[in-house]
Every structure is written in C-alpha cells, then in structure tokens.
C-alpha cells in the first residue's frame, strides 16, 4: 500500500509541474491588462443588452466583448475556456445582478476586489424592482422597462468616466445621445401598446420574463413557467393557462428566442380543442438579443421588435 500511495503522489506532482511550464507559454502572450493594443479600454459584459449599452456609450474608446451570445439563457450559461481570458483581460466588467447570472454572481463579487466590476442594476431604486413576497430576491429582467434601463445606461456611462477620465467628454456626449434614444424608445413602446384594446392587452409567454414590461406599459402578463427557466411546468399550469385563454378570448400567445416553443404549442392545440382559436403571435426576445448585425442584435432593435410583434398580433 505504501508504494501505491507514493506512486500516487509522484503522479500528482509531475504532470502539474510540466503543465505549469507548458501553460506559461500559452498565457504569456496576452496584452497588458485592461487596454487593447491600440489603447482602447477593454470592457467585458455578461449579456448582450449590457454590452450594447457599453458599446454605444463607449464608442471608439472601448473594446467590448460579451460572454453570452444570441439565444443564450443567462440562467444556464456555461463558461468556456476563452471566457476566462475575456474576464481576466478586461479593465471593466459589467453584469446584470439580481441573480440574473446565477452562481456566477458570487465570482463577480469576488472579482470586484481585483478590478472594476459593476452590476448595472445596483443603482436602480428598490421600490421599482419586482420581487417575490417575503424575500430579498428580485426579478432580474429589468431591461424590459426601458425607462428603468436608463439607470443601467447611466451606471455604464459613469463607470467609463471614472475609469477613463481622459475621454470624459466623449462618454458624456455619447451617453446623452443613447439616453435620448432610450427615451424615444420608451415613448414608442408605450404608444404601440395603447393600440391594443384594453380587454385584450394580455401578454402570454412561456416564462415570467416580462414582469417589468407589463408594469411599465400597462400590459397584463401571464406566464406558464416560474421565473427560473429550469423549474418544471406543472400539468395544472398548462390547463389553467388554456382555460384562461379561452375565457378571456385572447388571440395570440408568444414564444421566446431562448426557450423551446413546445409548451406554447401544446396550449394552442389545447385551446383549439375547446373551440377557441389562438395563434402563436411571434417570437419575442427575452433573455438574449438577436444575431449581431441584424436589427434585433441591438437592445433598441430587440425591444422595438418585441413591441411591434405584440402590438401586431393583439390589436
């Protein structure tokens, strides 16, 4: 036995040492931490929505990378090897907070001891956040209230100014422009929602990501699933939602880009059996934006797409 143990220990040590030498070569080739080769501030954001704000406000002075691409559900995000480097190199890391990033949040909080790590929801007034009763937990899908999301953009702007004061004027100017665009977007969504008759202004989706949207724009939101995308859907949830559709005479339900459409299709079929026609009104972007390069690949385009899709299907 003693020889076995000794052998185990030697086996443990040798490859570790070899590898240290090997990887010193791999990771030694990076740039100085925090800035790109042409001197731009390196910014890493968790979700596309946050990255978009940083890109708009930072303009040419920053290089923004996002961890979660199109169609990625932030609750179920799995980091790849390259993501370590993205986080490690960045001078500033922006994230959503309110437990949007799940377990990763604990790491981001720790990382704050080493670099600037900012939760963009940090400054949002608590009384505007939706929570569940009797606990400190809040719904993290704040970007659907465009007005509230402006405070996130302000957080991004102020952090950039603090970290890169040389370009303060540019950040102020681009921030001003972006906030104005958000204001226009807010008014646009409000307007489109008013096109829908009061009785039918009900948004039925697979999971409760649209709470803030409902609160901000006077839309009743009915979700099939709880907040977590991993919770099981109960049989009663499905039939209760079907009965609700039939009763209220709702014309359309919506599927989401980051979730499979199956359960919604089941409900449409269920309602049809009871003689009530419901259509799938279209696909909404919930936890992630569309492909980069398309209209929906930006925050503004994504919200606009959602508002248009909902308004067209329900009015």
């Amino acid at each position: 036995m003693h020889t076995d143990k000794k052998r185990t220990r030697i086996r443990l040590r040798l490859p570790a040492l070899l590898l240290m030498a090997l990887l010193a070569g791999c990771s030694g080739s990076g740039n100085a931490q925090g800035t790109s080769e042409d001197g731009r501030v390196l910014v890493t954001a968790t979700t596309g929505m946050i990255g978009d704000a940083a890109r708009e406000i930072g303009g040419d002075h920053v290089e923004v990378t996002t961890l979660m691409g199109p169609g990625v559900d932030p609750h179920l995000f799995k980091a790849s090897q390259g993501d370590i480097r993205k986080l490690d190199r960045a001078k500033i890391v922006f994230y959503g907070g309110l437990h949007l990033e799940g377990n990763m949040e604990r790491i981001l909080e720790k990382m704050a001891q080493q670099k600037t790590v900012v939760a963009v929801t940090e400054r949002m007034p608590k009384d505007r956040l939706l929570g569940s009763e009797g606990s400190e937990e809040f719904d993290p899908h704040v970007w659907f209230d465009v007005n509230l999301w402006q405070t996130a953009a302000e957080s991004v702007r102020d952090t950039l100014i603090a970290e890169d004061p040389a370009n303060e004027a540019a950040y102020r100017e681009q921030g001003e422009r972006y906030l104005r665009e958000l204001e226009e977007l807010d008014a646009y969504v409000r307007e489109r929602m008013l096109e829908i008759p009061d009785q039918g202004r009900v948004l039925v989706t697979a999971h409760d990501a649209f709470g803030y949207f409902g609160q901000a724009y006077g839309v009743e939101v009915v979700g099939l699933q709880g907040i977590s995308t991993a919770a099981e859907i109960g049989a009663r949830d499905v039939s209760a939602l079907r009965d609700y559709l039939v009763e209220r005479g709702i014309q359309a339900v919506f599927v989401e880009s980051s979730l499979p459409a199956r359960s919604m299709e089941a409900i449409v079929a269920g309602a049809a059996q009871q003689g009530h026609e419901v259509v799938i009104g279209g696909e909404l972007f919930s936890d992630a934006m569309g492909e980069p390069g398309t209209q929906e690949g930006t925050y503004l385009g994504m919200i606009r797409h959602n508002a248009d899709t909902i308004a067209e299907a329900l009015k």
Binding site: L12, C26, S27, K110, A231
Partner: protein, 292 residues
C-alpha cells in the same frame, strides 16, 4: 496563474474521485455520484426556506446534509437486501421529486435550481479566493478539495485492507471480524463529502464523470486493487490536464473537455487493453476456433 489554479483544481477532483471510484465500481455503486447530484435538491430547497437567501454557505449546508442522507438511505436499502442499482434509483428519484415538490409549492417565483445555486463552474475557480486575516490564500476550491483528498488518502491508507476486503467479499470480511457495515457507511460518507464539495467548486458533470470513467478504465487493465487505484488516478490526471489543453484549443467548456478526454481514454483502453481489450478477446476467440 489562472491556468495553473484551474488545472490544479481539476487534478485534485480527478484524484479524489478516481480513488473512491475504484471502490464504488467494485461494489457496483458507480452511479451514486449522479444520485447525489440530484438528491441534494430538497436540501437546497429546505436551506432556502429556512434562511430566506440563496447564500452559498446555506446551500452547501443543505446539500451536505442531504448528500449524507442520500448515501445513508442507499446503503440501508442495499443492506436490507435490495439490489444496489435499485436502491440508488429509488432514493435519488424520490428525493429529487421531494425537492421539485418543495420548490413548486414554496418558491415558484425564485430561481432555485441546482445549476444556479449549488453547482459551481471550474472556469471561475481562480477568482473565488479565500482570504484569511487579510492575506489571500489562493482559490477556496483548492483548499476544500485539497482537504478532501487528504482525508481520503488518510482513511483509505489507514484502513486499506478493511476497505479492500469489504469491497470484494463482505461475507469474508464479516467472518474476519471487520465491522463491514461501518466501512460501507464510511466509504459512502467519503463519497458524499467529496461529491458535494466538488459540485460546489467545479459542477456536476466533472464529478460524476470522474467517479466512474477513470476507475472503469483501470478496471479493464488490472485485477489488483492497488494497481487499479494507481491507474485510475493516472487516467484521471491525464484527462484533467489533457482535457484542459483541448478546451484551450477549442475555446470550449472545460469540464466538458475533461470528461470527454476521460471517455476517449476509456474507449482506447476498451479496444487495446492487453487483458480485457476487444482486440485481444477477438484474437483469443480465433485461436480457440483454430484449435477446434
């Protein structure tokens, strides 16, 4: 430094799991790791209901309690005469169901799934440091897993003979006056402790994979337990290091690459093993046919 900590963590998980995996395979309980990864759900739910937060200390506490309960129940069912696969299946599905029930009754509007609140991710290990009195002591996971591995080495080293006889021939062990049940519970307790502490630092798939694949690979190469443990640890470490390099080249999930690497090593062994390999078996069959 980032790479070094991640590899060290992976090596520690691989070593701890590969040692225990050997005993689990011999006792036909390899899936107990997977069972624990599901059965801790009610522990998480109860910890949340009691504390009202998703703080990792509480989650770990709940998971540890239910990890131990899981292996205790599995062992008890098995001792009472049920097959080991059936006892594992019953305990973990039942406990998992209780967890789902608790969450759907009490915490529907809270994101309370294992992936979010308990399972860690090996990529984040370097940032999750432990500070003691103002000094940074390095990643928490390395400490936790290092201690776990030390405990395993100590206990398995001290009681090697007892563990060995209990794994191969419990009846004989009992005849020799070894408290078989005690050692069964001890082994399962070690597995539970290792599994839960590793889940928290590196996630489920890596732990479940490392508990089974290296030990199964070693099983195909030798008939001696001591050698099997050594080989199993070697396979675990090679997978950890090799898998990490692959994940670097592919920019892919680290745990995914490590377990895939272990899978590839297993398949190679299955084909080429000098004692149990497919090629050798095929050759032997032809030889026998030739004689006839």
């Amino acid at each position: 430094m980032m790479d070094f900590w991640i590899i060290l963590t992976a090596v520690l998980v691989a070593s701890a799991c590969s040692i225990l995996g050997c005993f689990l395979i011999l006792r036909r309980m390899a899936l107990v790791g997977d069972a624990i990864s599901h059965a801790v759900l009610p522990g998480i739910a109860i910890a949340f209901l009691m504390s009202g937060t998703r703080d990792s200390m509480w989650m770990l506490l709940g998971a540890t309690a239910f990890g131990l309960l899981t292996v205790f129940l599995i062992q008890t069912l098995q001792t009472s005469g049920l097959q080991s696969d059936a006892s594992i299946g019953i305990v973990f599905t039942a406990l998992f169901a209780v967890g789902v029930l608790l969450i759907s009754l009490n915490a529907q509007h809270i994101d309370l799934d294992l992936d979010c609140v308990l399972f860690g991710e090996i990529a984040y290990v370097p940032w999750d440091t432990w500070t003691l009195g103002g000094t940074e002591m390095g990643p928490r996971a390395v400490w936790m897993l290092g201690i776990t591995l030390t405990v395993i080495l100590l206990l398995v080293g001290l009681f090697y003979k007892q563990f060995k006889i209990c794994a191969f021939d419990p009846a004989m062990a009992a005849a020799c006056g070894i408290p078989v049940l005690l050692f069964h519970y001890l082994l399962m307790g070690l597995v539970s402790m290792t599994a839960v502490s590793s889940f928290e630092s590196v996630g489920a798939i890596l732990v479940v994979g490392m508990l089974i694949i290296p030990a199964a690979t070693a099983y195909l190469l030798t008939n001696r337990l001591g050698v099997m443990i050594g080989l199993s640890v070697a396979v675990g470490i090679v997978s950890a290091v090799g898998g990490y390099l692959v994940s670097y080249l592919l920019d892919a999930s680290i745990a995914g690459c490590i377990v895939s690497m272990a899978g590839i090593l297993f398949i190679l062994t299955l084909i080429f093993s000098p004692s149990h390999g497919l090629i050798v078996k095929f050759a032997r069959k032809r030889e026998t046919a030739g004689v006839l």
